[in-house]
């Protein structure tokens, strides 16, 4: 990881490091999607993103959460921590960042590049397998780290930049 704009996932004691950040801890009930969407609405408004871009950010955040609930926790109750902020990095410019932390024993072991490039076959449609593709398509950077006690996912959306088709993981 080593992104300087993101602190430890646990909430920092000092106030100043917290300005502009939103941190949410919850159990991965599907209705919590609504809370995530309002966090996205607030942060994309702060970032000055238009409606379409804001919706794309919402899609990525929604899909990542849905995957953690369905695959990491297998549909059972499980704790998820979400942190979002707008960072300013000299190198890459301003970006909207979302960090997801779960405490599941199931670790993602797939390949994001493959998921990103999966194209549906119209003759042989299958209802699943869309989530990761959407995440990779709409985020400027998507990254996963397996931790000793769970997973850390990070989504980055550049601010003031065109849409990005790549997935850098």
């Amino acid at each position: 990881m080593g992104n300087p704009c993101i602190q430890d996932v646990s909430f920092p004691a000092s106030e100043s490091s917290h300005v502009g950040k939103l941190c949410l801890q919850l159990n991965c009930n599907s209705d919590c999607i609504h809370v995530l969407r309002s966090m996205v609405a607030v942060m994309t408004a702060r970032a000055g993103m238009d409606e379409l871009r804001s919706n794309r950010v919402a899609i990525a955040v929604d899909e990542l959460f849905a995957n953690i609930a369905a695959h990491a926790y297998g549909g059972k109750a499980g704790r998820v921590e979400i942190e979002t902020c707008i960072c300013d990095e000299a190198e890459h410019g301003r970006a909207l960042v979302f960090d997801f932390r779960d405490f599941a024993s199931v670790a993602w072991a797939g390949c994001l590049k493959e998921a990103a490039n999966h194209v549906p076959d119209p003759e042989n449609l299958c209802p699943g397998g869309l989530g990761l593709r959407l995440i990779c398509k709409v985020s400027d950077h998507c990254e996963h780290q397996a931790l000793e006690d769970g997973n850390h996912w990070r989504l980055i959306f550049n601010i003031n930049d065109g849409e990005n088709d790549g997935c850098n993981a």
């Binding site: 599907s30 209705d31 899609i59 959407l134």
Partner: protein
Amino acid sequence: MDVTLNFEREDRDDTHTLLRIKGDVTIHTSTRLREQLKPLFTTKMQEVHVALDHVDFMDSSGIATLVEGLQWSRLTGGRFVLSGLKDNVKDVFSLAKLDTVFDIEDSTAA
């Protein structure tokens, strides 16, 4: 702020039915959409029309449910039409490369 999905069904006749959806289609609500959608596909039904004019947000679980609808319609031999997609919902279909796979009408016929 509504966390539920609402449905309104209008049968034009025995062979044509319209399902209006109101709300967000997400993992939280897509199983309810599936429950409403599935029984509509019978061999005598010639057209199942889903009106999305009042859907502000749809994620891949919603799209997956509509893909199932497409499959059911292929099995029963009827038409499956979507209409009234808002720009952001359209965007998700096209990101998923499924905008050309579905039969999508611009506005919802009454």
